[in-house]
């Protein structure tokens, strides 16, 4: 994991059935938080968020199947399967119930976790994600074309070429240094093309929108207004289905808002500390 915080525990969790190993790490002390990363990225990609949350929580990160130090025998991925993986990571870390925060594809996995294993989710943060199904708002054609071509490009070129899609204009203008840090982190942890394709397939098949109203855990939805990968309308669609959810639209951000507006991590930590504010309790 990238330097900047101290990992207090780590291990490999056997996925359901024991045929797959999922690498996880824990940082900090306190109520548990499970972080679920997005497409093609390892748990180490949470390096900006972990130190902020670890001030108050025991933060668990893990490498999704096929990525980083987690292995997979097959490239048959679904968000349901990835949610079951996340539940076994909680088992391996000795955690019954956790605050769950997923970003992008990780947000889709977090939705499935809340639906398939509701007893494991004490609160839910859905970052830069969508509920899937026919009503999900797709990205523009240019974005779709790029992500099809991405795998044909050399890793470094592909990572830099994805910058205009991942970050909003304000961040690209003012925080080029942060983007360079992210790129360096990603290049240090390259992902196999097969796992990337399989995760992309899982994201395409994802469909939870109609069932989001069944999620009982207090929920916060966070989305960048300039997100080109998963247009911001998807956040409003999810919020319609989850009337109790707190919706935070970040005016200056694109898809990777933890880099663009890192101060949001403090607000997410505050939400997890008190997901149902006193005035909302009966």
């Amino acid at each position: 994991m990238t330097a900047g915080f101290h990992t207090s525990a780590a291990g490999d969790a056997p996925a359901p059935g024991g045929r797959r190993e999922l690498h996880w790490e824990a940082t900090g002390e306190g109520p548990p938080v499970l972080l679920i990363m997005g497409l093609g990225l390892s748990g180490g990609a949470w390096w900006r968020t972990v130190p902020v949350l670890a001030r108050h929580f025991r933060v668990i990160t893990f490498d999704n199947r096929g990525v980083g130090r987690s292995h997979s025998l097959t490239y048959s991925f679904t968000t349901e399967a990835m949610a079951d993986d996340a539940a076994t990571v909680l088992d391996a870390a000795g955690i019954g119930e956790a605050h769950v925060y997923g970003i992008s594809l990780g947000g889709m996995v977090a939705q499935q976790l809340a639906l398939r294993h509701p007893e494991r989710v004490s609160s839910l943060v859905l970052g830069a994600t969508h509920g899937g199904g026919r009503r999900a708002v797709p990205p523009g054609d240019e974005v779709v074309d790029f992500f099809r071509r991405r795998l044909t490009l050399p890793q470094e070129e592909a990572t830099w070429a994805s910058v205009p899609y991942n970050y909003g204009p304000a961040c690209r203008r003012r925080h080029a240094g942060r983007i360079a840090e992210d790129v360096a982190q990603r290049l240090a942890h390259p992902f196999p093309a097969g796992a990337y394709r399989a995760q992309l397939y899982a994201a395409r098949l994802h469909n939870c929108l109609s069932r989001l109203s069944r999620v009982k855990a207090p929920t916060m939805i966070v989305h960048g207004r300039h997100d080109r990968l998963i247009p911001v309308k998807n956040a409003y669609l999810m919020a319609e289905r989850m009337p109790q959810a707190r919706l935070e639209i970040l005016a200056q951000s694109g898809h990777l808002y933890p880099t663009e507006q890192p101060e949001v991590d403090d607000r997410i930590a505050a939400f997890m500390a008190d997901p149902v504010p006193a005035h909302a309790r009966r």
Binding site: P16, G17, G18, R19, S76, A81, G133, R135, L205
Partner: protein, 74 residues
């Protein structure tokens, strides 16, 4: 007439959603059983076979359900 048609549509949608939920619950029960078998089997290839069956049951069902819910807009 339009009102009663609306009610009928809603009921059909609810029935389809309930049917898919039941199918999902049944498939989960089967895959849980297969995983339990995989974990408790003390010899190969039974353990690997049961785990593979469990993965296939879950993932194939997930694909079917996702497709059905997408087509039916449920």
């Amino acid at each position: 007439m339009a009102w009663s048609l609306h009610i009928t549509d809603a009921t059909a949608g609810e029935l389809m959603a309930a049917s898919l939920d039941t199918y999902e619950a049944a498939a989960r029960a089967v895959s849980e059983l297969e995983w339990t078998l995989a974990r408790s089997a003390r010899f190969e290839p039974l353990s690997t076979l049961a785990a593979t069956c469990a993965d296939i049951t879950r993932d194939a069902t997930a694909v079917q359900l996702s497709t059905a819910r997408w087509l039916l807009d449920l």
